[in-house]
């Protein structure tokens, strides 16, 4: 799941839509994703963890030379976050 080009593509499509709407706050984005993917409201701690992941991933992607060319770090970070949710046990086994 983490290496499948198809799953990566789905995650990227969703990430692209998500960042197109520039009125949205990042915490709303995390909230919406968990609602969409897990079919439930997120806990505050989950929102914080999601944000922390996206920001950290974006920072790492922007300094990682080898990651360049696969997309802007922001989109890459949201793609990675979405893909992680899609590969998680909660999505695979509870929804």
């Amino acid at each position: 799941l983490l290496n499948s080009p198809w799953i990566a593509e789905q995650a990227e499509v969703l990430a692209t839509k998500l960042i197109q709407d520039d009125q949205l706050l990042d915490r709303q984005r995390v909230n919406d994703l968990i609602l969409r993917i897990y079919n439930r409201k997120p806990a505050e701690s989950e929102i914080m963890r999601g944000l922390e992941f996206v920001y950290d991933f974006e920072r790492r992607a922007s300094v990682d030379q080898t990651a360049k060319g696969t997309g802007p770090p922001g989109r890459l970070a949201w793609t990675a976050y979405i893909q992680t949710l899609l590969a998680s046990n909660e999505f695979l086994y509870r929804i």
């Binding site: 983490l2 290496n3 998500l18 609602l35 963890r49 990675a80």
Partner: protein
């Protein structure tokens, strides 16, 4: 995104199905979960090497599975009487039924035999290269299995049980011993058949054992594609970035496991961890171009006819060398119901150099001593001929029917006597009469060589302790070195 009209349901789809259906499944799963978390508390990594029951003679296995049923009387078990009575009618056992047997006659051995090696092992001239390693072979001429249909017999050689769904031999072994390389699965099966008579994922499955012990298939039977592990590389993220993603996944999954009672999820967490670690090692290991030209030649990769199995055998050696516990090489096409006179020598040419190359190479690298090589099919063939064309095809085109009553397999390396023949069939190589080794006995012996007691290697499931050998099995002490 507008979520104003979206209200998460009180009961999600899965819960609804579970509650609406029979609740016993959930109870069983909860019980299983408790058992597994108890186990998880004591053993953190389920693939970590574990202590054997007694000193092991073999550390790893290469199982060369010759699917279809190689003909023992034409390869390893010459019968002068069969040659003498060739063409004469054969009295079938009572209630024996099979298609194309109405005017059945004995078929003499179709290949010439000779003695090989110091031990003078008597076998077909169609295996000249394997003949060069004859002194390493421990030939079991009295093999028996319970059924004579492919599906059931294949399941039995792989799992011990012909009908019910049971864990495969490789899964039991990795469950019992763990693996020596944390970056690779403990059990890899190369080009398995997944469908039809020839196979099913059950043959390398874990059944009720934790899922982490199931075999990882590499490539598919009859495929022209190179045998690789699917999705073993990530095109998008560097390994550093993916490591960060794995941390996130781990934390999501850990939290999920604590939130829900369903700790059977542990298996999924572990398999993701393993897959992530494999990325560092698997692609390099699978790359046969790293081997020298001489090695390629040794395995017959330089010739079209032997290339396919040669590549599989070389890959098997690379995997066991890297510490994979159980590697299965799958070869099919041994089911010679018809045209055995053309088909069998052709199969022999395809496998002779690759298999001999594997044994020679393992020996040269000092690996054979601790690697048990197993060769054989799910059963053997009959001494009488079979004519599936019902008289339409010429007599030379006949073949032989399946035969579970007596057939040949051989072992090499890891703690067995080389240059030894154990067991015998009757005058026509039809039934084992002496030194019988039932499939359960072979499994018990394989576990014994690995340091495992087949009566102690158990897993509690559904209220009782299960074994690879069920309630059967005898270690064939006569063949131990």
């Amino acid at each position: 995104m507008d979520n104003r009209h979206f209200v998460p349901p009180a009961v999600n789809r899965r819960d609804f199905l579970r509650r609406a259906g029979n609740g016993f499944g959930a109870i069983a799963l909860a019980a299983l979960g408790t058992e597994q978390s108890l186990r998880a508390a004591t053993v953190s990594n389920p693939l970590a090497p574990k202590l054997a029951h007694h000193a092991a003679r073999a550390k790893r296995i290469i199982f060369l599975f010759m699917q279809g049923g190689p003909s023992q009387m034409d390869l390893f078990d010459y019968k002068p009487k069969l040659a003498e009575f060739a063409g004469k009618p054969f009295e079938l056992p009572a209630n024996y039924e099979a298609p194309g047997l109405n005017k059945t006659k004995l078929m003499g051995p179709i290949s010439s035999f000779r003695n090989y090696g110091q031990s003078g092992l008597h076998m077909t001239e169609w295996f000249p290269a394997i003949g060069n390693v004859a002194d390493d072979l421990c030939v079991l001429r009295g093999m028996q299995t319970d059924t004579e249909a492919h599906t059931t017999a294949i399941r039995q050689i792989n799992t011990g049980a012909p009908v019910l769904v049971r864990p495969s031999m490789g899964a039991w072994i990795v469950y019992g011993l763990g693996t020596e390389n944390a970056n690779m699965p403990g059990f890899i099966t190369i080009r398995p058949s997944l469908t039809g008579d020839a196979g099913s994922p059950q043959n390398f499955g874990a059944a009720f054992l934790p899922a982490i012990y199931q075999g990882t298939p590499v490539g598919l039977a009859k495929s022209e594609e190179p045998a690789v592990i699917d999705y073993s590389r990530n095109e998008k993220f560097t390994s550093g970035l993916q490591g960060r993603q794995m941390d996130m996944l781990r934390s999501l999954n850990r939290e999920f496991v604590t939130r829900t009672p369903d700790s059977a999820m542990e298996g999924m967490i572990e398999s993701f961890e393993l897959a992530f670690r494999m990325q560092s090692e698997a692609p390099g290991l699978m790359d046969l171009s790293k081997e020298s030209k001489a090695t390629h030649k040794l395995y017959g990769i330089d010739e079209k006819e032997t290339r396919d199995l040669g590549q599989q055998c070389l890959l098997a050696r690379r995997l066991v060398e890297a510490g994979v516990r159980f590697v299965q090489v799958n070869d099919d096409g041994w089911d010679h119901h018809a045209s055995i006179r053309d088909g069998l020598p052709k199969k022999c040419r395809q496998v002779d150099r690759p298999i001999a190359g594997l044994i020679t190479d393992l020996k040269a690298r000092g690996l054979l001593e601790e690697t048990l090589v197993i060769w054989g099919g799910e059963f053997g063939r009959t001494p009488f001929d079979q004519d599936l064309s019902l008289g339409k095809a010429p007599e030379e085109n006949r073949g032989r029917e399946h035969n579970p009553r007596g057939f040949t397999m051989w072992l090499a390396g890891g703690g067995v006597k080389g240059g030894l023949v154990h067991g015998a069939t009757d005058d026509f190589a039809f039934q084992a009469v002496d030194g019988k080794v039932h499939m359960h006995d072979l499994h018990a012996t394989i576990l014994h060589l690995l340091g495992l007691d087949h009566e102690k290697l158990t897993y509690r499931y559904s209220g009782r302790d299960f074994r690879l050998t069920d309630v059967y099995g005898r270690v064939v002490t006569e063949i131990l070195a």
